[in-house]
Chain length 294, copies 2
């Protein structure tokens, strides 16, 4: 089989028409043989049809995946785990199963238990919004973002080539990582920032018990540092619970970092504080420059 141009002749079935699934639909529709969206709620059928992000919509996931060349699971992590078990065996020989879940170790383990005729690849696009759902979806969401891929030892070069074609077609940058390494890195840059934001809001809520005016003085600094605390809790709970060891380690280090800044401030150790804050500000500015040029 020709390894190039396979995406164009593929029937892509996207399970879950939330922010990620529907945005993927927008990018792929018209460029594949057919793009099917799978939804769970009856109301979502008409909503998805109206949005125009896919060629057709169905609630019959088992039938849909049986005809797919590529199945993309775009649901919360623990739903993905169930879907791998339930749907994988119904797929065609050689069909590719890609997921877009935010943790990868548990998912790749489940993928490894699939029948050999399925070609599984773990995936995680590093983009998103704190607003979930179809209405937040948009074409071009993946443009420029890092798209982590976790092929399994059993994954064929053909399957990886097709996934690579899909990822680069939506203008994302593929980055191949071991599942365990992925989970440790995203604990640091995504799951810990979520818990940090949650902790900041929890603190302001505690202060507000005594002085509700605190909400009135909160401004752009509070807005940005805590934006992710408004994220979809169901999605985040799945993430935290399937990446628990790495998240606990990260939280412990954040508490240690905060305690150490607290000590320097308690001792009014101005020189130490200045040196550390300057190094952190510089590092943050350097990262921003790289991030923007992507």
């Amino acid at each position: 089989m020709n390894m190039f141009g396979r995406l164009r002749s593929s029937h892509v079935v996207i399970v879950g028409m939330g922010l990620m699934g529907a945005s993927l639909g927008y990018d792929l529709r018209g460029h594949c043989r057919r793009v099917t969206g799978v939804v769970r709620r009856p109301e979502a059928v008409a909503e998805t049809e109206t949005s125009g992000c896919v060629d057709d919509v169905t609630m019959d996931v088992e039938q849909a995946v049986a005809d797919a060349d590529i199945v993309v699971l775009a649901t919360p992590v623990r739903t993905i785990l169930q879907q791998i078990d339930a749907l994988g065996p119904r797929m065609k020989p050689g069909a590719v199963l890609l997921d877009m879940g935010s943790t990868k170790e548990a998912i790749c383990r489940a993928m490894d238990a699939l029948p050999q005729h399925v070609q599984p690849v773990g995936g995680h696009p590093m983009c998103g919004k704190e607003i979930a759902g179809l209405s937040a979806a948009e074409p071009g969401l993946y443009r420029g973002c890092t798209f982590v891929l976790c092929p399994l030892p059993r994954t064929s070069p053909d399957a990886m080539a097709l996934v690579h074609e899909l990822v680069t077609f939506i203008r994302a940058q593929p980055l191949i990582l071991e599942p365990k390494r992925h989970d440790r890195l995203v604990a640091a840059i995504s799951h810990l920032p979520y818990l940090g934001a949650v902790g900041l809001v929890a603190h302001v809520m505690a202060v507000a018990q005594e002085d509700p005016l605190v909400w009135k003085v909160a401004a752009s600094g509070f807005r940005d540092t805590t934006r992710v605390a408004a994220s979809d809790v169901r999605m985040l709970l799945d993430i935290l619970l399937t990446n628990q060891p790495a998240v606990l380690t990260a939280v412990d280090d954040l508490i240690a970092q905060l305690s150490s800044f607290r000590e320097a401030l308690a001792q009014q150790n101005e020189e130490e504080l200045r040196a550390r804050l300057e190094a952190i500000a510089k590092q943050r500015r350097d990262w921003q420059k790289n991030f923007e040029t992507h």
Copy 2:
């Protein structure tokens, strides 16, 4: 003297042509008798003139304030403390001294020690950017933001009326607070989020020691939660050191909050986690709605 329209006939001297001072200049220039900018560095004279944010620029702060009807101190907190002592006594009888420092207790204490002929008012506009300096300044920066005012017991109603006129003229919303209360509230919504962001970057820097790829997977969640960690360190050091007790209390509570989330996650206490994360997400969304309608 007529209490209205006094701003129009006032000579306003803004000490410090950074983000806040220069933005104030943009908003006031052409609407006051004269707007003078005071800078410290010789290069800043031409830069400020070129920007057009004030009518004239000088490095001679002592002469400038002697002619002012309103002096606005737009420098870091500990510089403000020095300037209150040095410049206050040189001001005209009845002239108003307003500052825009981020902490208020130490500043208002210093203001209270001024000669009686000066009319001091503590101020803190709740807006800003992580980028400092004249080049980041813009007209309309204060529009819609809460502008905390801390009048002293000695401050005359006339002086407060003039400051109120200035604040509402730049479309900010005045909010009168006791200095101690202000400092406790901003510790929660500004100084703690800064330290939280600093802690998150410090954690990623520690992870990067072993795996530099962590910077590559960092995306919009990391960008937003840590944006303020790139803030001007000199300004932030002044803030932390002049609001030390409130900041230490806030850090202690954040550590307690994080520890409690850590415990719930360690025990996989899903129901508790869900209930708390949902309450926090809802509170954060409610706040955002109010903030946006300002």
